[in-house]
Chain length 286, copies 2
């Protein structure tokens, strides 16, 4: 019954669950100034990126996460031009953001340049956005960047962070969220990866709702979607606005989108807004 | 990295993935005439039922599967009175079916009585429907039962089977599906658990669509939903009709349902019908 060492396993002791992928070989391993970066060739999921022992993405399944973090918020904003990505060093989020013609500037701020360099080498399909003249890559602390950003300078902020421990802990905190509020324009939107609905409703999700509301965000909604490689296989994105109804989006534009997706479409967007019965106690905005 | 023997692991070699739950202790193990039945106490997921090494359900997460296999089809049928459950020996499906007041007869046909007896002992919350006078439990071969069932005798057939190998292989076959067609009334509906959209689209799901259409079913749709304990964490239910539009359902009745659910509601039902972009090549009915 135990798996041997031909498997990469991420175990979540706090939930008594674990997920494993069968490995063909290890392609890369390094300790950056911020975290341990590993790349594996799996037998069935393409290449696997691991940060500090946690699955970040596989080539086969990362599309659900990247598409559901990028397109719902960008089709909810009336005209997203200036977009800030905090984290996202693998550049998969940047690629999705740049699919929107309205975007004139996409700033990606990840503290760890090594993640991007490793992605360029092993996940070139994710990093194609780097060459886009609208893209600006910064390798620095996202918290400090946001604190120093001019007020009302962004339309959309996407927080593509790792779990709220280690380098990403501050990205779920009150100071970060207040700075995000300040850096967003009046119709600005923030979206934060918000872990698993079934594992983290009473903990991380509840805290995130409180932090967003305390920062001044008037509306908060959570979308749910599958991510095979993350704990429970079921993940969420929590979106906040200064007042705009987040259950409405540019549905016609989504229907007529001029770019390809593998998971996202207008019906999926609408469906992801549906609130499971057991989440209603928290996801009250709809 | 390898997990020790305090974990129960289901590995899917054909997909190079595995899912594990931390075990407190083994509560039961037997070899029935049909399969190996195991029950574990997990550390975080309540009790775990395993058949032939495959996770059937945990107490914590079985609600998504049972609710999404039962309520969408029952709210799509205009007036479900006679319901047949093939498989479903743990009685969790029966419990959900009996929540519908319109149901006057729910027949559960599982080949393995031992699954039901084990469920009564270790999962009593699932088996409460056994006492309901509308319930009829038969322990025999579902294929034979359906072959001998009078024509047009059921409104809804729910195929709550294990994976299409071993005892359940025939439940995905053409003969079974033709018998189901015959046993259903003109407005009758069948729903079949249809594995993972991301793992089985080109194999089991494609074959199931072909078998359903060959049997005479005019409309086929697939709903998707999370199931933590099944491979990939993302599962599906495929529904077929003799002509009725399966994208419409008794939405008002679902909104005003007089029973509790933990996942299902009208918005979730609508959302589960959304077809992911990569599934559009198969899920063409919508």
């Amino acid at each position: 019954m135990p798996l041997d060492d031909t498997w990469f396993t991420e175990s979540l002791e706090s939930q008594g669950s674990a997920f494993s992928l069968k490995i063909a070989r290890k392609l890369h391993e390094e300790q950056s100034p911020f975290q341990r970066i590993e790349v594996y060739e799996t037998t069935h999921w393409g290449r696997l990126l691991v940060l500090d022992g946690a699955v970040m993405l596989t080539q086969r399944d990362n599309f659900t996460y990247h598409e559901m973090m990028a397109h719902p918020v960008l089709f909810t904003h009336p005209n997203p031009r200036d977009v800030l990505i905090i984290g996202g060093g693998d550049c998969g989020m940047l690629r999705e953001v740049l699919k929107h013609d309205s975007v004139r500037r996409a700033v990606q701020v990840d503290i760890d340049e090594r993640v991007t360099r490793v992605a360029e080498q092993f996940f070139p399909e994710l990093t194609e956005g780097i060459k886009d003249p609208r893209a600006q890559l910064l390798f620095e602390d996202g918290l400090r960047y946001l604190k120093e950003a001019p007020a009302a300078s962004f339309d959309v902020i996407i927080v593509d962070s790792t779990d709220p421990v280690g380098p990403a802990a501050g990205l779920f905190g009150p100071e970060f969220m207040r700075d995000a509020y300040r850096a967003l324009r009046l119709d600005g939107l923030i979206v934060q990866q918000s872990e698993s609905p079934i594992l983290h409703l009473d903990t991380i999700l509840t805290e995130l709702y409180a932090v967003m509301r305390d920062a001044g965000f008037a509306k908060v909604v959570t979308l749910t979607y599958p991510v095979v490689g993350y704990p429970s296989g079921w993940w969420s994105a929590t979106m906040a606005s200064k007042g705009a109804d987040l259950t409405k989006f540019r549905e016609q534009d989504a229907l007529n989108k001029r770019f390809e997706t593998h998971y996202y479409n207008a019906a999926i967007h609408r469906g992801a807004l549906a609130v499971p019965e057991f989440c209603k106690k928290l996801f009250t905005d709809q």
